[in-house]
């Protein structure tokens, strides 16, 4: 059952979305881009490039992966009708801290959000969204849907 505009209220919490990123996926993506090795695939390079603390045996997730997962989060919240996202939806996010990916265990991120505005004239819903890894906020921003 897809979420309907009428069912959504300002203040509603979006269903949290947990995503574990695996190093092998990142490696494949980077191979596709033709950009290896780099700090997304090599823990030693991640240590060198990071302006933040680095973690042992860990790389830093490409920002586009956080972007992709934010889209997945919104689509999943919509249930069986993703059209409000694909037809007029979007995201506007800032990457506020690195997402660490352990080369064997991966990196788990939780995406959360809530509805902050409804525009009845446009049938548009605006949400605040964020993502956390180990209680650090790694992404903040907003997402919108057009019904």
């Amino acid at each position: 059952m897809g979420l309907k505009y009428e069912d959504i209220k300002v203040g509603d919490e979006l269903t949290p979305y947990k995503r574990t990123w695996k190093q092998e996926w990142v490696n494949t993506m980077m191979e596709m881009v033709g950009s290896v090795p780099n700090w997304h695939t090599d823990p030693e390079q991640a240590k060198k490039v990071s302006v933040w603390e680095s973690r042992e045996e860990s790389t830093v997730l490409p920002g586009v992966c956080t972007e992709m997962a934010t889209c997945e989060f919104i689509i999943k919240w919509l249930g069986d009708d993703p059209k409000p996202f694909f037809h007029g939806g979007g995201i506007d996010i800032r990457l506020t801290a690195p997402v660490y990916v352990h080369i064997e265990k991966g990196g788990e991120v939780t995406y959360t959000g809530k509805v902050v505005e409804k525009d009845d004239a446009e049938k548009k819903v605006i949400c605040e969204v964020s993502a956390q890894q180990d209680e650090r906020t790694v992404m903040q921003g907003k997402a919108w849907l057009k019904f």
Binding site: R19, M29, V33, V49, E67, P82, G90, I91
Partner: protein
Amino acid sequence: MPQAVVSTIRFDDLYKGWEIPHYYWAVTPNEMKMFAQVVGCPEPLFMDENAAKGMGLDTIPAHPGFVNIFHFECNLLRGAHNNPVFPTMHSSSRVEFFRPIYPGDILTIKMKVHDKIISKKGRRFVAWEIKLFDQEENLIARKIHTSMWLKDDEAADRFGITPGMGPRPLY
């Protein structure tokens, strides 16, 4: 593997409005499904035509991240100029979707420097505007992709890259 000796595109080389030659992509269902698998999201929506139709779409849509397959900036810049870019870090994204990317779409990707920003702390950012058009010239997605570009001294400290140097080992 020997690398070609080419100069590196640098922050100072870029200017607002500079546009990369247009890029074209014919979308196939297999690569769409492969992409969803590669990013760890092989959901029925992206893999199964019946599931997608059941959700009100014409057929399977590309995973939203598919827009990025074209415009990892290092890839596109390098593809356009055979020229590695200076180290950058993705800092923000704004993505607007006007309709899904479907199998059979023939996309034209237009990418240009949307803005150059130097923060109060001296951090340097480049915002790229990337627009995807379909075969009928309809805009189907627009993205503003902003990255921080390392300063020369940071790059020298971390990677041994100095102004005017040729190839670097990272990309």
